[in-house]
């Protein structure tokens, strides 16, 4: 592992989470359901990218309201081949050609309010901070039970504003705004099965290129590039995603989930995602073992090219982002959850997951594929 910053939860964040848990009972009845959850996720791949992501979430339910606060960091060590080969001059001049280390901090707060039986509202706020990126987001949502509580309709809207900078370039400053909406219909299919249909719309307007990424242009079939230009993509992007999902108990101890998502956007990307998951419990719910497989395929953006040419003109839109080209991914994973039945540990729940994610880039010359290992470890405590 390359040099990384030591994971240390900011004292202010810890104080905030503790405050949510301690103060809320003063608002309502003394009896309040409280929950503390800690999670650590590790991502490491064969392209020399490693990310450690510890997070802490606290929530407390008082009367008809539930207050939640979450804080986390991403500790990133990246030296991927496309990052090093396409990095802009300000990044490589004086910087290590082996990549970069960075820390991203995130915090979110949510309030869920149950208006009456079968109706609820949600409000949320989130902030994300990096040395060269800042984002603030707000969200509102609601849900209502229908058809004698055989169905639930949920809707939500969100807005985010982001500032994008560039390291060692104080004059570089861009921004973008994101609007989004979601609709979900959940229906009881039987005593043991639920079905969901969801649609989401996202509108992104503003700077969406990578300020560190340069695109190589070639004269005809020349082996070496004749020049490099900064990555440039359209300012406006409309995203559509529709999901159909089925959840069911297959036997007294076996549960299953299947979902399919169709995604399309105004940049021409069309993607399909299929997820299958099954879990089996032992000794009641003391131990639950699960397995998951996931497949993903996407087509390229209309302006994506494996090799950009200078003739007749340098292209208006150009990108070196492999995630905008044709690609597919395949994931297989296992997870385990352990809930001790013995006092005083019966308020705890331990979880562990391991996934292998293989990514294949069909039209990206510097990197044909990479494989990642994703490990998650979490602990929940019902106080």
């Amino acid at each position: 592992m390359a040099a990384t910053e030591r994971a240390r939860l900011p004292w202010l964040v810890a104080l905030r989470v503790a405050g949510v848990i301690a103060v809320a009972p003063l608002i309502g009845r003394a009896e309040a359901a409280r929950r503390l959850h800690g999670n650590v996720t590790f991502y490491g791949d064969s392209d020399r990218v490693q990310v450690w992501s510890p997070s802490l979430t606290g929530s407390v339910a008082v009367d008809r309201a539930t207050f939640s606060a979450q804080s986390g960091v991403d500790i990133i060590s990246a030296a991927s081949v496309d990052l090093v080969s396409a990095a802009s001059v300000p990044l490589t001049k004086g910087a290590s050609p082996r990549g970069f280390d960075e820390v991203r901090k995130e915090a979110n707060a949510t309030v869920d309010l149950r208006i009456r039986d079968g109706q609820g509202l949600r409000a949320s706020y989130g902030v994300s901070l990096e040395p060269d990126f800042r984002s603030h987001s707000v969200g509102l949502g609601g849900s209502v039970d229908l058809l004698d509580r055989h169905a639930t309709l949920a809707a939500g809207a969100r807005f985010a504003t982001s500032w994008i900078g560039r390291a060692r370039d104080a004059l570089f400053a861009r921004d973008r705004q994101t609007w989004g909406g979601d609709l979900t219909w959940t229906h009881l299919l039987s005593r043991v099965a639920l079905g969901d249909v969801a649609y989401s719309l996202g509108v992104v307007n503003g700077f969406q290129a990578n300020p560190y990424r340069w695109v190589r242009l070639y004269d005809g079939d020349a082996d070496a590039p004749s020049t490099s230009l900064a990555e440039r993509v359209p300012d406006l992007r409309l995203r559509h995603a529709g999901t159909v999902r089925l959840r069911a108990r297959l036997s007294p101890a076996i549960f299953g989930l299947a979902d399919y998502r169709l995604y399309a956007d105004s940049w021409g990307v069309l993607a399909h995602t299929l997820t299958l998951r099954a879990s089996r419990s032992f000794w009641g719910e003391t131990l639950t073992l699960g397995a998951e497989v996931r497949g993903y395929h996407q087509g390229a953006a209309t302006f994506y090219q494996r090799r950009y040419r200078t003739f007749p003109l340098a292209p208006e839109w150009r990108t070196a982002d492999k995630e905008l080209g044709r690609m597919w991914t395949a994931l297989g994973g296992l997870h385990a959850d352990f809930a001790p039945p013995w006092r005083p540990f019966d308020a705890l729940r331990f979880g562990f997951g391991a996934d292998v994610l293989h990514m294949r880039y069909i039209d990206f010359a510097p990197l044909a594929s990479r494989t990642a290992l994703i490990l998650t470890c979490d602990l929940s405590w019902e106080i």
């Binding site: 995130e106 009881l188 005593r191 249909v197 989401s200 993607a271």
Partner: protein, 73 residues
């Protein structure tokens, strides 16, 4: 034509879901409230995984609300 075919497939899936619906009395819904029927073993673990997918793939959304954005390009 391709978009029409996609829309038709989605509509048929939705229609088949509704056709399979049954009346479930309140005292028969214990299984539906089970935590193993949730979308993710824990919401926090699901959010962490979705963040990985959101950075590594172009597709996003369709799964409900999300947290804050990031400059994870």
């Amino acid at each position: 034509m391709r978009r029409v075919a996609i829309d038709l497939v989605l509509f048929l899936l939705l229609a088949s879901l509704c056709a399979a619906c049954a009346t479930v009395q309140p005292w028969q819904r214990g299984v539906l409230a089970d935590r193993r029927m949730q979308l993710a073993p824990t919401p926090e673990r699901g959010a962490a995984r979705q963040h990985v997918f959101g950075v590594r793939e172009a597709a996003q959304g369709g799964l409900g609300g999300s947290g804050s954005a990031c400059g994870c390009d």
